[in-house]
């Protein structure tokens, strides 16, 4: 199958790559770029484990082809870390609230929460639930995840703009 070349930004860095047009964006990120933080859950767009930010908006990487990302900017969970690799505010709050157990849905949860907090640092409970409503977690029952997002929001507000 002939390959197509694309250029895109991943976590702030420019990438150029060639792939078969049928390669999913999820497989591209994991297998070609080596960013294995984005997880494979259902591959039909329901569970949200593969959530990434696509030009700042949360999307399912399993439902897009890599070639569709040509010219776009992607953020994965690895991109939420500070530049020195330490945990960002949201990641820190997830640790303090133990907003996870097995860690498999966690990257997707963080991406959805990041998308929410990027434009709303004082979300209501309903807004938080809507933001992570498309991310399934089988371990936590969501309560500590909600608490983690609330904690992150408070810290972001306290830190100021």
């Amino acid at each position: 199958m002939s390959k197509r070349e694309i250029s895109l930004s991943i976590n702030g860095k420019a990438h150029t790559a060639a792939m078969e047009p049928r390669l999913s964006l999820l497989d591209f990120l994991r297998d070609e770029v080596g960013l294995t933080g984005t997880h494979v859950g259902c591959e039909h767009g329901v569970c949200g484990a593969c959530s990434i930010l696509f030009d700042g908006a949360p999307i399912r990487a399993c439902l897009m082809l890599a070639v569709q990302a040509d010219g776009h900017a992607i953020t994965t969970v690895e991109g939420l870390c500070n530049e020195d690799g330490s945990a960002g505010t949201l990641q820190d709050a997830f640790q303090d609230a133990h907003g996870m157990q097995c860690g498999y849905c966690t990257p997707g949860m963080l991406i959805s929460a990041q998308a929410l907090l990027a434009h709303n640092s004082d979300p209501s409970l309903a807004e938080i639930k809507d933001a992570i409503g498309g991310n399934l977690c089988r371990c936590t029952g969501y309560v500590q995840i909600i608490e983690a997002i609330q904690l992150a929001a408070r810290r972001l507000r306290e830190a100021g703009p």
Partner: protein, 804 residues
């Protein structure tokens, strides 16, 4: 273990790390996206496998033509069941059923829709899936047996004709004077309840990666596994000596809750990697996982008869449990045996008759699911208690209060032989009621009803057995004299004095590394953050089982405490020798050992470590150099075979919970909304509060799913109807209420710090509690449901069309 550590018990001791809110160390890698799940492991030249599922629930395989698939560019091998059966043994089943042959790929016949009939290995998964489409299979479809009651009676239509019956197990147990108790009781009732086929459905499917190394003759396996006996099963199926296989247990497992058993998957990649002399991996896609990944849970019909006094005290139970194990039983039948350890729940029921039946049907095989059969049993018991209350016109809460085992009766032996270690059931129930603001909740329900809404409160008081010794196998198979299910660890102190703990299992979200480090830190008085925890592989690990059965706090906790005591004993011996003081005069504080009577006479941790590693002349005579300790911990309070009446101690510890949810039902659609949920929970000493709370609430959410949404459904032809997440419905954040939770601590007298199990409890009570709430909401209409899941269409039909 020394007396000094045993008396620690949770209560009364000044704890520095245990029971304190501290970060969970595993979380650090998960938030950064640097967890190491099986799918993240890349070995050079790895080839990828994909499997071909059967479209029929029962069919003869007449022929398989894989010529075109094998010829596809990038394909390395196409393997069928016939070929593989020539080279490997059938996978060993839990019960000895020699005429049921379970192979990783179907041989001659398929026995459920989704069973794997062929596997392709290719350069990548895309090509492997292309090749699947080129495989031509000629099937002769046959009529399946789908209904478990039909399967039980059936003599012609057999899932495994050579076995001669669909019955995999049929046992009768009698504990106490059931006939006498029924004769003496004021009243009795019968009740049929059904637990639907659902499972834990982790977000990560099962995956395995294998590499055969010709130079060392070792088969390396990385897998998302949570399974005792896994390596043994792999070895016996492949026909290898056990020490040819090395399971890497430092793989993060993306959720399991019992089901990550992947034995056929691992046999396949192991076999293929040796054939191809390259690493081979198989990562199930979601469809394959749901239909043929061997990950379904219990599917059980209970017929229960209860005898009770007119004031609602239950005297005796007759229980018949018929469980649908699917096509290949694995360890499924044992899920009927574990509940024997808590067969009367938290109640003072005097005698029990228990008939347990496991049948095969043309459905996906059943595997252990969170609680190993206890969740369906708890559901049945709680439904029975509610039925007794309704029958007598008594309050459900009051009936429970009259039946709960009193706190001064522990240790309390139940008719089937279990001795419950400790409990404070009335107080925990009251804590739950206070948390729920029960009086206000009653008013809220009644106001809702007055406004014409369907509203209900659920009540469930349930047990969680933890830390078992596997003697339930013997109850079903007297040739299986298994009386231990040990757990071990090794603790090393290095020349710098730093500590490394080595555990011998994988972990799948329970925070075992944190648990282990916390207990070592507590016992050695060293900050757990300075302690490293590693997972030994199966060749280097000490005897361990796996993190099942709510056992790791009890068992790894016990092993860690024992090893820490040995480390301290060694340090004390070195100090005593060098300070020339008797051990009794010495005091250990944070690694430094000093004379109680003269604090200037002391040896620091660094000095002790130096002596241990470098100064043989300063070691007590006969002591080996170096500084490490191992401890193998036996299940406390057990280890004996059952007596002549089949009475036995299977689990040492019994945690308790009281669940009180509040629901409203939309009468037009039948939709149940869980609006509030209070849970009071007692697992003795909590090692890490965030971990325990997370598992309690997470289990509870999982139980809400099992009660209202989750079902692996089959049609009459055995076609599988729930293969995607659009069909198999799991609770999202919108289906889970704001849970209020409270802990109570009744320490176990049997464990290192008073801890009990906590990984299953939420799930073991929530289905019963939600069912209780739904039925409370339906009661004003004179309606009730007794079958899980209580999906909205069933409730809508009941409300609008009436029973039947």
């Amino acid at each position: 273990m020394t007396a000094a550590t045993l008396d620690a018990g949770g209560a009364g001791r000044n704890l520095h790390y245990v029971a304190q809110k501290r970060r969970v160390r595993e979380d650090r890698r998960f938030v950064a996206g640097t967890g190491k799940f099986v799918q993240d492991i890349a070995l050079p030249d790895t080839k990828h496998a994909a499997v071909l599922p059967s479209p029929y629930s029962r069919a003869r395989i007449l022929s398989i033509d894989s010529t075109a698939a094998a010829a596809l560019d990038g394909v390395h091998m196409v393997l069928t069941g016939q070929q593989m059966a020539e080279d490997c043994n059938p996978i060993r089943l839990g019960l000895k059923l020699p005429d049921i042959k379970w192979y990783p790929l179907a041989v001659d016949m398929t026995r459920y829709a989704g069973e794997w009939v062929a596997i392709v290995v290719a350069d990548n998964a895309y090509i492997a899936e292309d090749a699947l489409e080129l495989i031509q299979v000629d099937y002769e479809p046959l009529a399946p047996v789908i209904d478990p009651e039909q399967a039980f009676d059936e003599t012609d239509l057999l899932v495994h004709p050579d076995h001669g019956s669909n019955v995999l197990y049929h046992g009768n147990f009698l504990w106490g004077d059931v006939v006498g108790d029924f004769a003496a009781a004021d009243d009795s009732l019968t009740l049929r309840t059904r637990w639907g086929r659902s499972s834990t459905v982790p977000i990560e499917t099962f995956g395995a990666l294998a590499r055969w190394d010709e130079g060392t003759e070792i088969l390396d396996i990385w897998a998302s596994i949570q399974m005792p006996n896994f390596v043994e099963l792999l070895a016996t199926t492949l026909g290898y000596p056990l020490n040819n296989i090395r399971l890497h247990q430092d793989v993060d497992v993306g959720g399991s809750y019992g089901v990550k058993r992947g034995i056929k998957q691992s046999v396949l990649v192991g076999y293929l990697s040796r054939k191809l002399k390259r690493p081979v991996r198989l990562i199930e896609d979601r469809l394959v996982n749901m239909a043929g990944g061997d990950a379904h849970g219990p599917d059980r019909i209970f017929d229960t008869e209860a005898a009770f006094s007119r004031d609602g005290v239950i005297k005796s139970l007759k229980i018949r449990a018929l469980d649908d194990a699917g096509a290949y039983p694995g360890r499924a039948p044992f899920q009927l045996a574990k509940p024997i350890s808590a067969i009367v729940g938290p109640y003072t029921i005097n005698s029990v008759k228990y008939e347990a039946i496991s049948v095969a049907t043309n459905k996906t095989g059943q595997v252990p699911v969170r609680g190993f059969g206890q969740a369906p049993t708890n559901y049945m018991i709680e439904m029975t208690v509610d039925a007794v209350a309704r029958h007598l016109g008594l309050d459900r809460l009051e009936v429970r209060r009259r039946n709960l085992i009193p706190s001064d009766a522990f240790p309390y032996q139940i008719p089937s032989g279990s001795s419950y270690d400790s409990g404070d059931y009335q107080v925990v129930l009251q804590k739950g009621l206070d948390l729920a603001r029960y009086d206000e909740l009653l008013q809220r329900r009644d106001s809702a009803r007055a406004e014409g809404r369907l509203a209900g409160i659920g009540i469930a008081t349930c047990l969680e057995p933890g830390g078992g010794n596997n003697i339930f196998e013997y109850l079903m198979d007297p040739t299986a004299e298994i009386t231990t299910f040990m757990e071990a660890c090794e603790v090393k102190v290095d020349p710098q004095g730093k500590i490394t703990g080595m555990m011998g299992t994988t972990t799948s979200g329970q925070g075992h590394e944190t648990l282990f480090a916390t207990i070592l830190g507590e016992e050695l008085q060293i900050d757990p953050d300075e302690i490293r925890i590693v997972h030994a592989d199966s060749l280097t690990a000490l005897p361990t089982r796996s993190p099942v059965a709510s056992r790791m706090a009890i068992m790894l906790g016990g092993a860690a405490t024992g090893a820490a005591a040995k480390i301290k004993d060694r340090a004390m011996a070195i100090a005593a020798f060098n300070l020339e003081r008797p051990v009794e005069d010495l005091e250990y504080a944070g690694g430094t050992i000093s004379d109680r009577n003269d604090a200037s006479r002391k040896l620091t941790w660094a000095e002790i470590c130096f002596i241990a590693y470098r100064a043989y002349h300063k070691l007590p005579p006969g002591m080996e150099p170096g500084f490490h300790a191992q401890h193998v911990f036996q299940v406390p309070g057990g280890g004996q075979l059952p007596d002549a009446q089949n009475r036995v101690q299977i689990y040492p510890c019994f945690s308790f919970q009281a669940h009180i949810p509040y629901v409203e039902i939309d009468p037009g659609t039948g939709k149940v909304s869980v609006l509030d949920y209070a849970i009071a929970h007692d697992c003795g000493t909590v090692i890490n509060p965030d971990i325990v709370r997370g598992m309690v609430i997470g289990g509870l959410a999982h139980g809400i799913g099992a009660a209202l949404y989750e079902q692996f459904a089959y049609d009459e032809e055995g076609q599988f109807l729930s293969a995607s997440f659009a069909d198999y419905l799991m609770p999202s954040v919108h289906e889970i209420p704001d849970v209020k939770d409270v802990e109570h601590c009744t320490p176990s007298p049997l464990t290192s710090h008073g801890q009990k199990g906590s990984g299953e409890g939420g799930y073991l009570g929530a289905p019963a509690a939600i069912a209780s709430a739904v039925n409370d909401a339906l009661q004003p209409m004179g309606l009730s449901l007794s079958e899980l899941p209580m999906r909205m269409h069933k409730i809508e039909a009941l409300i609008n069309d009436g029973p039947g």
